[in-house]
Amino acid sequence: MTRGFLDGIGRVIAAPTLILGLYAVTLLTAAPLGVLIRDAVATHLDSSAAADTVASGVGWEWWEEFQAQADGIATTLEPRIIGFAAVLTNLSGIADYRLPHWTVLLAIAGYIVVWLFLIGGVIDRLARQHRVTSSGFFAACGTYFLRFIRLAVLAFTTYWLLFQVIHGWVFDELYGHLTQNLTVERTAFFIRIGLYGLFGLMVIAVNLVFDYAKIRAVVEDRRSMLGALIAAFRFVRRRPTSTFGLYFINGGFFAGVLIGYAIVTPSPTGSDLAVWAAFLVGQAYILARLFTKLVFYASQTAYFQSQLAHALYVATPVRRWPESPVAEAISESRT
């Protein structure tokens, strides 16, 4: 497990372009919407002297007024986005199944589609452990995109069942039943923690199986996503300690990143310098999160490969862009 984790870290460090590319995707998804927020703030402030207060602090009086008139995506500009509260807002939103504003959901959907396109190339690169050209990378992306779309349909259905049905049952029905007559908040808190753990395990189990399904699809060049999913399930079932153990090591690493950010998050409410410092620290945190996510994939890929006969086995040669028949004919005539 630990070797797989360390191996995974090594593979991600060896692929900085992947991190930077994915970071660019994250930033480019968020930035245009950020411009909308900027416009909304600027329109409301107009040439008011309140801008002085807002620029040099929080300007809570203004913010409160802004929120009251905001609509659309501007309604998401609330104190919960400041510093580490932003992280807790998002994690808590998932844990309590509170969906964000629909405009943000659209952005998330688009981001997930881009990831579905890229993930084949990402796993392919991490599995090969050597540089691939950008054309090779995108060729792999294209090869697996439709397969992962099919897998995503299965994943979406499973997660939908988990959050729409089981989450409601666990946190509305079961939690409500367990705490209905409780008069001690502390007890209810620990019950809720327990249920988060229970539900989290279910989510992790599903996530784990789908991770290995993607890994098997790439490493073994599987065409059937149902087959990949079943194979992944078998793989996890036969090695529960190792697969879950590795997952939890990665989870611990992720927790470390969160704790680190919680410690160093600067306040964005001071001078211009402080604002940019907070933004840069935030970007470093986003990079660290991306690194963590890739380590998840890389370490699980490494572990999966270690369980095969050949540790670095990848079923297919490096992908190439498909050429037109004419170009291929010319190319072959030259050789």
């Binding site: 968020a30 930035a31 107009d46 801008a51 998330i108 008069t183 908040e185 935030g282 986003i286």
Partner: protein, 689 residues
């Protein structure tokens, strides 16, 4: 028989029958004498009791926690202090609000808040059933049974299904000054709390739990049905209450405990007594931790503070005590001394929904297991409810009709006290099912914004109801904002307009004049007018009498070199065309606009590049007004109402304009912060890929 005798005989027969049917007026019981007893003042002068004590109760009640039932017997001694005669008595039966979904309270809750209260399971509902009503006489006169004539009435809305008011016809009219003694027997089922009173587990908060007489005014009975947006109204009296509960359970109640009697059957009777109050509430639970502290002050009388804490909040006892002391100190100094020598603070059980309620000498606070010290919870609730001991308890306005008079005054005063005693503190939020607190140390709690609850006032649509509307007729969804938030805002506006000393003097005079009495809005306005030495009717008429909104804004600010272009007369000759531009003089024009329909005098402050400024006063009546200045420097900024006196103007951003704005910096800052949040959110959802 001589036909001429018939009228006389008929008259005799009528009188005779009348004597048979109409019972003689019984003499009052001894308790009346006690209730009206005079007592010596510290100076030796004999003075009367502080209140009229015209509605006094002697109650015996037994709680069966397993059945969640109360079985009680009360003797009400009621004296008619109105100038009218009455032939019936009217009583509140508040528990019937939770008898079914057809009560007025439930209907209004569902209408205003789309609440899911109607989905409550069978066990949750509660009610009160009067089993006997008797008019008591003296030892020689038998009681007269009144139950047959007792019937529910619903004069507010005609809801035939509402059983929260019971009318009891009397066998004879009660003249002004007359006294009657009425005995009730009743049983009730304690609800799982819908609002304010009820039970969960072995925690009971029992309020509005007994048949309680309404208030007879010169215009008739003031005994409203129980409404979603209103609270209570009652006359002052003496409460002598014996509560029988399981032995070893801890009781807290209005008043002081006089006696504890172990009945030997697993129950204990706690005897509490209190004079000059208009209600009686109690709580009982085996889990309470009983903390007692003293309030001491160089001038104000000592007060014993008793805190009944939930075990999981034992570490917060000091916070409740500090908050209660703060209220007793500041309210005592500002308005007048707390009129009792004890107060009980109840820390309600989690999920009991009984927190944040006031009763005479007794109130419920509210807190959380994880309560960061730099967030004003539980202090804000504790100060507010302790403040009600002054505004509601001592000054007993009609909460059915002018709830703002206690809730609004108290909100204003309690956040003022909170601000003075517990700053700095910060805004917060909660994550993960509402359990994990997070403190925004970048956002200090603000009295003008958070204390006055500006957000709620904005969201509620200030135009929904004029404040003068009787509270029980407010739209239930916005009643709170009109009652609490708007009043706090206009009182804070008055504080800034008149100065604290003037407002405080007026409120103190109002407190002194109406302690142990039932003031009306005009009484408050009169007290403030007197203190201010001016008629503020123009203000009260707008904020209380209408739903006008206030909004002033700087429409434009321009500052250009002075130019003159066109024809001018030169030394009496023909007009000559000229185009003159003076770089030494700048013409600055500031246009102020009244955007709302409310009118308030405002200042206009214009700053210039050389650091100088110009201040103007505007009565704020016209739709707009322009101010022009000729100065050697350009203007930089203009403000209308620069000190933000008019806190009711909730559109503050348009109150200023600058020539060179920092809007771009401000907008960029929040854009960058927001982008990091969204990136994190994308990655959080990226977990599922």
């Amino acid at each position: 028989m001589n036909a001429q005798r018939w009228p006389a005989l008929a008259a005799l027969l009528f009188v005779g029958l009348g004597l048979l049917i109409t019972s003689p007026k019984p003499a009052p019981l001894a308790i009346v004498a006690a209730a009206q007893a005079s007592f010596p003042s510290p100076t030796g002068m004999v003075i009367g009791p502080p209140s009229q004590r015209n509605a006094s109760y002697s109650i015996d009640v037994r709680l069966d926690p397993d059945k969640r039932s109360l079985k009680g017997r009360e003797v009400l001694t009621w004296r008619n202090i109105a100038n009218v005669t009455t032939s019936e008595l009217q009583f509140h039966l508040y528990y019937n609000a939770w008898k079914n979904t057809r009560s007025t309270w439930m209907r209004e809750q569902l209408m205003g808040r789309r609440s899911s209260l109607h989905e409550r399971p069978a066990d949750d509902w509660g009610w009160i059933e009067v089993t006997a009503v008797r008019l008591l006489g003296t030892e020689n006169t038998p009681p007269i049974d009144l139950i047959a004539g007792a019937h529910h009435i619903a004069l507010d809305d005609g809801n035939a299904h509402d059983e929260t008011v019971l009318a009891v016809p009397l066998p004879y009219p009660v003249e002004p000054g007359d006294v009657v003694n009425v005995e009730f027997e009743w049983t009730s089922r304690v609800p799982r709390t819908f609002a304010r009173t009820g039970t969960i587990g072995n925690y009971f908060l029992l309020a509005q739990w007994f048949p309680k007489i309404g208030v007879l005014e010169d215009t008739g009975w003031n005994c409203h049905q129980f409404h979603a947006a209103t609270e209570f109204f009652a006359d002052y009296g003496t409460y002598d209450v014996r509560m029988t509960v399981p032995t070893d359970w801890i009781v807290g109640a209005t008043g002081v405990e006089r006696q504890v009697t172990d009945n030997g059957d697993g129950t204990t009777t706690h005897h509490y007594y209190q004079e000059d109050v208009h209600d009686f509430a109690w709580t009982v639970s085996p889990d309470f931790i009983d903390v007692r502290k003293q309030f001491k002050h160089p001038v104000l009388p000592d007060v014993q503070i008793r805190v009944l804490l939930q075990p999981e909040h034992v570490g917060q006892a000091v916070r409740h005590v500090a908050a209660t002391r703060t209220t007793l100190k500041y309210f005592g100094e500002w308005f007048g001394a707390y009129p009792y020598d004890h107060v009980t603070v109840v820390d309600p059980a989690w999920q009991s929904r009984t927190g944040g309620m006031e009763y005479p000498t007794f109130f419920t606070a509210g807190t959380r297991w994880l309560a960061p010290r730099d967030v004003p919870d539980p202090e804000d609730v504790t100060i507010h409810e302790a403040g009600h001991q002054f505004w509601y308890g001592a000054v007993g306005n009609n909460e059915f009709e002018y709830a703002w008079l206690d809730e609004g005054l108290n909100t204003f005063a309690s956040v003022r006290a909170l601000d003075l005693s517990f700053s700095p503190h910060y805004r917060s939020t909660r994550f993960f099912g509402g359990f994990i607190p997070w403190v925004f140390r970048d956002i200090p709690w603000s009295r003008s914004v958070d204390g006055n609850r500006v957000g709620g006032y904005r969201r509620s649509n200030a135009r929904q109801d004029p404040q003068i509307t009787p509270t029980y007729r407010y739209w239930p969804g916005t009643a709170g904002s009109i009652t609490y938030n708007k009043t706090a805002l206009w009182l804070h506006t008055l504080e800034r307009h008149l100065g604290w000393a003037t407002l405080q003097r007026g409120m103190a005079a109002f407190y002194e004049a109406w302690r142990f009495n039932h003031p009306k809005p005009d009484d408050f306005f009169e007290a403030i007018n007197t203190s201010a030495g001016t008629d503020l009717g123009w203000f009260f008429d707008q904020v209380h009498g209408t739903s006008k909104v206030f909004d002033y804004g700087i429409d434009q600010i321009t500052s250009r070199p002075l130019t003159t272009r066109g024809y001018t007369d030169v030394d009496g000759n023909k007009p000559v065309f000229s185009d003159v531009r003076s770089d030494a003089t700048y013409e600055t024009t500031v246009v102020v606009r009244r955007l709302g329909d409310g009118v308030f005098p405002v200042d206009i402050l214009t700053h210039f590049k050389d650091g100088m400024s110009e201040r103007e006063q505007w009565d704020g009546v016209a739709d707009w007004k322009a101010f022009t200045y000729m100065r050697s420097e350009r203007a930089t900024q203009a403000f209308v109402d620069p000190e933000h006196v008019l806190l009711l103007d909730t559109h503050r951003t348009n109150n200023s304009r600058t020539i060179k704005s920092r809007t771009g910096q401000a907008a960029t800052k929040w854009m960058l912060t927001w982008i990091v949040w969204l990136q994190d959110l994308l990655l959080t959802y990226g977990f599922f890929v």
